[in-house]
């Protein structure tokens, strides 16, 4: 599938309701993410961040409207669209019984890579993410930080044009967080669009240039980070977040 000049992500008049869970729903939601952007999607627990990511990656199907990735409609078993993006879920999404190399071999094949490409990307990623020494050890014996790196590596195996990241640094130490963020910046420098959610707002400030704040299924603010801070006269993303979404518990 050809990569067009269209927006990386284009959500138009999208409506969605979880069957049996009216708390999470979207109505006439619009969101545009340009190619090559580092886009942050933030909001309190239960605001709908993960649901929106699931809709954008085709894990859930919208009831109304359209979701397009690089001009191509998401939804159903659209294997060609699925080649365009990578997804790094919040949960560890690999086989803990297998080693990193074995996981990469399997997920690489499912991502559409051939044997040679898998081998090349495996060596590259193990080196970049500091997993070379444990390449053949079972992942279940790894620390949380090492598992996070494996989780990230599988998402970028096939060099996706768009990368969706759902809290990619949760539960890791400072060193691993730095390594992951630096790697994501490197990917973006090479043209990958990043769509990122996290509760680590300090970290997000360093990574994201465009942000959207989401609350109760609605986008309450969306623009460049600096513009938003200036517009609301706030010093940090965290202050802006509290100003727009309040200080009450949400879960």
């Amino acid at each position: 599938m050809a990569v067009t000049n269209a927006l990386a992500v284009d959500v138009e008049h999208m409506g969605f309701k979880y069957p049996g869970n009216p708390d999470v729903s979207f109505a006439d939601l619009n969101l545009k993410i340009a190619k090559g952007e580092r886009f942050g999607l933030f909001g309190p627990n239960g605001a709908g961040k993960t649901t929106l990511l699931s809709l954008m990656t085709g894990l859930l199907a919208a009831d109304e409207g359209h979701i397009k990735l690089l001009g191509h409609e998401v939804g159903g078993q659209n294997n060609e669209v699925n080649k365009l993006f990578g997804f790094v879920p919040q949960d560890f999404s690999f086989y803990e019984e297998l080693s990193p190399v074995e996981n990469f071999a399997f997920f690489g094949a499912w991502s559409g890579l051939n044997k040679q490409a898998i081998k090349k990307r495996t060596n590259e990623l193990l080196d970049i993410l500091g997993l070379g020494d444990v390449r053949d050890k079972q992942v279940k014996k790894f620390s949380g930080g090492m598992k996070r790196r494996v989780n990230l590596a599988i998402g970028v195996l096939h060099n996706p044009v768009i990368l969706f990241l759902d809290e990619p640094t949760v539960g890791v130490d400072v060193q691993t967080r730095h390594a992951i963020i630096n790697y994501l910046l490197e990917l973006n420098k090479n043209g990958t669009t990043l769509v990122y959610t996290s509760h680590q707002l300090g970290e997000a400030e360093g990574l994201c240039e465009q942000v959207a704040l989401i609350d109760d299924g609605k986008i309450v603010a969306q623009d460049g980070l600096n513009k938003l801070l200036k517009h609301y006269n706030e010093e940090s993303l965290e202050h802006l977040f509290l100003k727009l979404t309040g200080k009450d518990y949400r879960d």
Binding site: T57, G58, L59, A61, Q77, N79, E80, N82, K83, F85, F87, P89, D91, F92, S93, F94, Y95, E97, L98, E102, A105, F106, F107, G108, A109, W110, S111, G112, N114, K115, Q138, I154, G155
Partner: protein
Amino acid sequence: MFKLKATIIKDVKVLLRDKVGICFMFIMPILLVVVVTSIQNSTFQLVNKNRLPIIICNNDTGQSSKQLIIAIGKIGLFKVSVVKGEESEKLMADAMHQQDAMLGVIIPSNFSSKVSAKSKSIAGKALTSFGLQGETAKPAGDVDPLTIYYNPVLQESIRLSVQGALRSALQMTESRETLRSLYFSINEKQLPESLENEMLNNKTAINEVPVSKDGTRITPNATQHNVPSWTIFAMFFIILSLGGGIVREKESGSFIRLKTLPTSYAVAMLSKQITYLGITMLQAAVIFSMGIWLFPFFGLPALNLPADLLALFVVTLICGWCAVSYSICVGVFAETHEQANGFGAVSIVILACIGGLMVPSFAMQGFFKSAANISPMHWCLQAYYTLFLEGGKLKDVLNNIIPLFIITLVFQFLTFVGLKRKNLI
């Protein structure tokens, strides 16, 4: 093809590292086959070689009771111990417990006199009917019943066999006495022993010949019966690993990622079918090999493989595919690991029961006889028995393979519907 190969390699590696799963699929069924065959073999030996211990309490002092005890001993089914004075049920129960006997029989004190009176009466009637002047037939009452006490663990089929054997001994005793009375009434002298034996013991022999389709003489034994049936059970036992594995994968994060990748989940399903079909074939090979080479070391009869090995391969392949299809179907529909394992385990035991693995199908009545037809294990078992016990060929098992194949296709269709409903393919 590359994706399928990669998925099969992944499934095999995950499986090989699941020690509990391997235990469920190989060690447990092997133990089951060995234990069940050993127990059934020892039951055969109990009846045929070791003999059932029986205590006979003889309260009678006459000759007929002694003749009866000798006749019981000659049946060859019992190891006889004779005691005196145990007239009550309680005392008999104690005696049986002390001597580890499964059966007890009390011969009433008037047994010989009653048998004698009855035989004289019958002899008199016989002479009268022959038109001869015999002793006036005095009406004689029935001989008081023998009471059999049994250990409740004895199955009904064994108890019926015991009753039949004791009736035969009783008949022999009464016939002997009647013959003696008749002879004495006619000749006024005792029946010569040689003539008596000739008249009573000269029975026509009964030969047993197992019927086979190819003319071979396969002697059925515990191994020949149990190895095929428990191999089928072992194959269906993979539900614990496969059904649970599918649910575990659905519950895990890896499943989320799989759904976002440009590959249909049908590839994962196909991979599981191929991988686990290989496992079921391996299970059968291991269990059959044990039957052939290892069982004799345990003192069990060795397994004789059927002459038509191609038919054995085909039946095993379809049986394995059916087991895999059923396991995947349960795994796709189950929402939790507990549901898959609980339903899976109980359902295969039920399918085994109605399929004739635990009670032979021919012994079932009414509803259960019809219900056997919906159990895939029934068709597998019939096919195996045709091959292992009747010396059948591939054409002889086609009428078993076709229903099995249809049931497998039903499971495949249900799996497809389940995957479609859950938007997985």
